[in-house]
């Protein structure tokens, strides 16, 4: 499965998507573009991981989907954050910060 290739992102992809979706309703293509732009082209999300992740998050009730019109006038599926998703995002952000801090501490000390 392509999802296996982006192991690095596996734990964090969900959080990144939640974060991007939190900025306002956005379609799948938009999510992948936004992640690329914000990360300054460092992170590239494969479609093969993106869409299963979107659907998984939707299934868990963290994001909601709705059909709408894109900027080019096409029908696209727009995702937005739900109340539960917002709680989840906060929790994951906190988790991530703690983890990053801890990893950072270890790296500092080990130097």
């Amino acid at each position: 499965m392509p999802a296996e290739k982006s192991d690095l992102l596996q734990g964090t992809l969900d959080m990144l998507i939640l974060k991007v979706v939190a900025l306002g309703p956005i379609h799948g293509y938009g999510v992948s573009q936004r992640i690329r732009q914000i990360s300054k082209e460092v992170l590239q999300v494969q479609q093969g991981s993106l869409y299963p992740a979107l659907h998984r998050l939707e299934k868990r009730g963290w994001i909601e989907a709705e059909w709408g019109e894109s900027e080019h006038g096409r029908q696209a599926r727009f995702y937005k954050l739900s109340a539960r998703g917002r709680k989840q995002l906060t929790a994951e952000e906190m988790n991530w910060r703690r983890l990053a801090e801890a990893v950072g501490l270890i790296l500092e000390t080990a130097r």
Binding site: A3, G28, Q46, Y51, P52, K59, R74, Q75
Partner: protein, 865 residues
């Protein structure tokens, strides 16, 4: 993708997935165009970059699928855990369901094999039974003349082919001892009509079907194995049958059992034989295969036209004849249809009782599990999820129960085959995928019936009350639903028991009937003979008379006789009669049954002579004896003695002189009152009539003596089917007895289930009301009052159930009307007996829990608080 995964797939999601992914590709294409690529190239690039479209879709499907799959698996695991935790409960449910579903599947397997499936021939639904019927005679065995059969076959336009057959029993004497073999004599086209070919060898060649052509015989698989040890070289060997050599040309498949189960040989009848050209012969039972697309109505209309044509051509013999066309399957299995559906109805009631029983069990179980369910709610489970879990648990139990039930049904198939050799097609009953599928369907239905209501009720309270309210603080649990469930069980059980009671009582009534003849101490048997002998009727009669006289001299024998049919074994042969001496009165038709018997018949069966004398068999003219009903119905004032009776339009039967009047006997079956009957004195109406021998002692003890004597008299012939007359009479009711025994078994099972339900409910009530009971005892109630309270609760619901059951029985037992003898469907004694029995048993079942309640120790219960 494994096939089962598609079960969990929601197809309606597909177009949406496609649209979403397509949008992505379009946006990418747009971006490429903006970057300066040509539209086509841009699209190509986008598709390549997007990667495996199908793979992504499959992954997306997985996202949606796995959730459902996971939950189902989790539910199954929970169900198994639940079964391990309370094995007694699980075993009770599984056994109850196994019984309910097993009985149901067993009867269904019989219905499926006998009634639902086409006959075991290619396109068996196109096979028809044809018969000729004389408008003036009611004769079930309307055999057809060879020439007429050929006329039908040639002149009709709706049948592919029409063929006929008859069977006879003769001796095969190529072995050390003569052996009786059953041979079917068949017309050309016989195998073509049935659509069957020999498994080994070939069908008859055209010259073997012509008069004077070489003799040829097809043998049954059974005979091939028995005699030749399944040796393929048996083809070409010779048998010596009825004194003439015949060559084996083929072996039929093992599954080919037509026209009878025990046919050993098939040989061709030459249709051009000079002795077979009379239009008045009655030789063949006839079958035909419809052309594709032809309806029964079209075939009937076609043959009516053909026969009308023949009626004009041969007014003397054909004008009065009609042709009847019936599906062959209908004529084979029609007789057992009602019995089978009746049994199916009763096992369905039984299954309903089992389900109700289990529903009540689950209901009381759910109350114990309220706490667990409340915790699941508080952990965020939705009501649907909890209900799904409870249903999965029940389904698991039901599948286990139905697997056991399927084994039960398989066992029953063996039982059917052993007990029901008088039921058509029993050899086809067995375990197959249709039965397995049906049983599975039963399991699912049972789950929904048993578990849905308890599951919905258990989850109704939701989270709010149940966590707070621990079951021990409950004061009283009056549960009208549980009372209702027990009441329903009692009602259904009473219905079944009433039906069973009526069948048993009608059997008793049959046993009390005085048949007008004495069946005990009469031995019956056949001696092989063939229709070829009928070309010399005088010789045939002399042979049989000689045999009768020799047997009469054997010590221990009181009287001997022959008869074409057995008394008390259902046969009908009714015809119109005319008195030769007086002009016929068209307003008063004389209809009577005909029986062909030797003069010794009346002495052998102890049928008393009332007037005149017993007939004599002379070569000059026919003698006749009539029964009392005949004399009293048609000749109440004048004497019939000495007059001559004749059946019109029958070239074979000359007028007969009435010599005497005998007592009425139940010739047509023990359950049919005697009708006007004419006995024709003829020892040899056919080459192998029934021999009847009255013995001093147990008839079977004479069997060997008679066999030896017959060997002395006529060593080339074999004696077969030696059995007491009483056994024949029993066999005539074999199907009747089988259905009675089965219904009684089902009814008793139903009653036990209902009583178990009652006992379970009361025990449950007693246990949840222990505190209340203790309190009442502490406040001065007497144990007797407590006992009476619970006992009355049990009896009350039983009585209500009985009343409902009576109503149901009144509606349903009417279906039994045709199966009853000497007892009406609303027989008061039976119904009262059923109610008394159920109430008495219910009292016993209620006593134990009621005693337990009365023995509650108030101090202990109150201290438990």
């Amino acid at each position: 993708m494994p096939w089962w995964r598609s079960l969990f797939l929601n197809r309606s999601r597909e177009p949406e997935l496609d649209r979403e992914l397509r949008f992505h590709i379009e946006e990418m294409t747009e971006a490429h165009i903006a970057a300066g690529l040509a539209p086509e190239e841009a699209r190509r690039q986008a598709v390549i970059e997007f990667g495996g479209h199908q793979q992504i879709k499959e992954d997306l499907r997985d996202v949606h699928r796995i959730a459902i799959l996971d939950r189902t698996l989790a539910n199954l695991r929970a169900g198994l855990r639940f079964m391990r935790k309370s094995p007694a409960f699980a075993i009770t449910v599984i056994l109850t369901l196994a019984l309910g579903i097993g009985a149901n599947s067993a009867v269904f397997s019989a219905i499926d094999a006998i009634l639902l499936r086409p006959l075991p021939f290619p396109q068996g639904d196109r096979l028809m039974r044809l018969a000729q019927s004389n408008r003036r005679v009611k004769d079930p065995e309307s055999a057809v003349a060879p020439v007429r059969l050929e006329d039908w076959n040639r002149m009709n336009s709706t049948f592919q082919a029409i063929a006929g057959y008859y069977t006879e029993d003769e001796s095969e004497s190529s072995g050390a001892l003569p052996e009786k073999l059953t041979r079917a004599l068949v017309t050309p086209r016989f195998l073509q009509v049935l659509g069957v070919s020999p498994a080994l060898g070939r069908d008859f060649a055209p010259d073997e079907e012509r008069f004077g052509g070489p003799s040829a015989v097809l043998i049954s698989d059974r005979f091939w194995r028995r005699r030749f040890g399944a040796d393929p070289n048996a083809i070409g060997r010779r048998l010596r049958y009825a004194g003439s050599p015949i060559t084996i040309v083929g072996v039929m498949p093992a599954s080919f059992l037509f026209p009878e189960r025990d046919v050993d040989l098939w040989s061709a009848v030459p249709m051009d034989a000079p002795y077979g050209q009379s239009r008045e012969s009655t030789w063949f039972r006839v079958i035909g295969r419809l052309k594709p697309g032809i309806t029964l109505g079209q075939a009937r209309a076609d043959l009516a036209i053909v026969q009308a044509h023949l009626g004009r051509e041969y007014p003397k013999t054909d004008a009065d004849l009609d042709v009847s066309v019936q599906p062959l399957k209908e004529t084979t299995v029609g007789g057992v249809r009602r019995s089978l559906w009746m049994l199916y109805g009763s096992v369905s009631l039984l299954l309903l009782i089992a389900c109700t029983n289990i529903a009540a069990l689950l209901l009381s179980r759910a109350t114990h599990r309220q706490h667990e369910i409340a915790i699941r709610f508080s952990l965020g489970a939705s009501r649907l999820e909890v209900v799904a879990q409870l249903l999965t648990e029940a389904l698991l139990l039901a599948v286990a129960g139905s697997t056991l039930g399927l084994m039960l049904a398989k066992g029953a198939a063996i039982l059917f085959r052993a007990a029901g050799q008088y039921v058509p097609r029993v050899e086809e009953i067995g375990l197959d995928w249709r039965l397995a599928l049906y049983t599975l369907a039963c399991a699912v239905t049972a789950t929904l019936l048993c578990a849905l209501v308890p599951a919905i009720r258990a989850t109704r309270g939701g989270l709010a009350g149940s966590l707070a309210q621990a079951s021990r603080t409950q004061v009283s649990a009056r549960n009208p639903l549980q009372l209702l469930l027990v009441g329903v069980q009692v009602a259904l059980a009473v219905t079944l028991l009433a039906g069973a009671g009526l069948l048993v009582r009608s059997f008793q009534a049959l046993g009390r009937v005085s048949p007008g003849f004495e069946a005990s101490h009469v031995l019956t048997f056949h001696v092989t003979g063939n229709y070829g002998e009928t070309t010399d009727m005088k010789g045939l009669t002399q042979r049989i008379q000689r045999t009768l006289n020799s047997l009469r001299l054997v010590p221990g024998v009181e009287a001997t006789a022959t008869a074409a049919t057995l008394p008390g074994v259902p046969t009908q042969w009714s015809a119109e009669f005319k008195v030769v001496e007086t002009a016929a009165d068209p307003a008063r038709k004389i209809m009577a049954e005909s029986r062909f018997v030797s003069p010794g018949y009346f002495e052998t069966l102890h049928i008393p002579l009332l007037a005149g004398e017993i007939c004599r068999e002379t070569t000059l003219n026919f003698n006749i004896v009539v029964n009392r009903s005949f004399a009293e119905t048609y000749f109440p004032r004048s004497s019939i003695m000495g007059r001559h009776l004749q059946t019109p339009n029958n070239g074979f039967l000359p007028p007969g002189e009435v010599r005497g009047i005998v007592g009425d006997a139940r010739e047509m079956g023990m359950n049919v009152a005697p009708v006007p009957t004419v006995y024709w004195c003829a020892s040899a109406p056919m080459p192998d009539p029934f021999f009847l021998v009255r013995t001093h002692n147990d008839p079977m003890s004479m069997a060997q003596t008679i066999r030896r004597k017959m060997h002395e008299i006529d060593p080339a012939r074999s004696v077969f089917e030696i059995m007491p007359l009483e056994e024949h009479l029993d066999d005539a009711f074999a199907e009747n007895r089988l259905r009675t025994v089965l219904l009684v078994f089902f009814a008793l099972t139903a009653v036990s289930l209902a009583l178990m339900g009652l006992y379970g409910m009361l025990s449950y009530f007693v246990s949840v009301r222990r505190r209340e009971t203790g309190l009442r005892l502490a406040l001065g109630a007497l144990p007797g009052q407590i006992l009476r309270h619970f006992l009355l609760q049990g009896l009350g619901v039983t009585l209500l159930g009985c009343l409902a059951g009576l109503g149901l029985a009144a509606a349903l037992t009417r279906l039994l009307a045709g199966m009853l003898y000497g007892v009406s469907p609303s027989d008061g004694t039976t119904l009262l007996g059923v109610i008394l029995m159920v109430v008495a048993l219910a009292a016993i079942a209620s006593l134990a829990p009621a005693f337990r309640a009365a023995r509650v120790e108030p101090m202990r219960v109150l201290r438990e608080e």
